[in-house]
Amino acid sequence: MAFRASRNIEQSIMEWIRDNLEDDSWSGVTVVKTWAEVYDEDNEIDPPIICVRLSDTVWLDGEIGSTIAERQPLILIEIFATSDGNREDLKDYLISILKDGFPYNEYSIVNRTITKIQQNGYLTITSRITDKVEDLNIPKSNLAVKDRYKHLISFIVSRGILE
């Protein structure tokens, strides 16, 4: 079954991050799609973890008298690091590889295996990138390891086409 645009966008960002991490010799970093995977006690994943989520989407009208519109989803990239230094390095690295845009790919899923079909365009960041420490106002000693060194990068992307 072929993915629709929202899932293609999420998967494209995840693949771009994974490929770049591998090319630039980052080891031990896991990229996931849902918060549930980060905290799954049955399938424990150690930090550093990068969680990519597509949140709300705004639709920009294409033209008067028409229903065509441009999709602009909010992307939330959460980093669960092993230390403050690891957090700072990872977030700077991710921003450096994302800020100029990345390929939009189309995918399908068969028997829980995701396969890339083809690249079909490019995704560009159309807003300011927000880059902030997730400070929970709780002493780090009272936090789980995964909660101690968290960072959030968020931005809006667009394929630059009307749908």
């Binding site: 920009l60 602009q72 997730e134 709780i138």
Partner: protein, 172 residues
Amino acid sequence: MFRVEIIQKGKPFGKWIAEIQQIAIESKQEVKDIAVQATQKMKEMASDRTREKRDHSIDTNPKASKESIEQNIDLTIVEDTAEKLDIGIGNISKLNQNAPHWAAQNFGSWHIVGKQVGGEFTNPSNGVFYGNKSGNSMTPRKPIPPKNYVERTMLFITNELRLLIQNLSRSK
């Protein structure tokens, strides 16, 4: 030697400046309206989802205590002059003091899993709830999922400001 001649075409510069100033005045009220809507949206996103289903407004909800996030999200006009309009939504100092759980609700957190948490709710006969004479408690089994109401409100504001600028450009 070069001679440069500047020829003015179209509107005089002074008239152009006056038009921009007029647009700024007209758009100020619209920006304030966007800020009011954004504040309400942030409160709705931050509030308990079960309360959203009730027919109460967030501000008059009798269950929304003084420590609730939505009761501590304020709209503040920081500066309003001819040259500048500065608006704040949600004072972090106030939230940290009165509703410090605002960050855990926004970003999500695992810190209460397996810990006894007190609260004001009825005590069903089974599940994670248990009660005693001094009050009811629960032991959460799952982490607090992220609501990201701050980031989602920013998306709303960005889009509304873009529409405002687009409409102002078209009207002139």
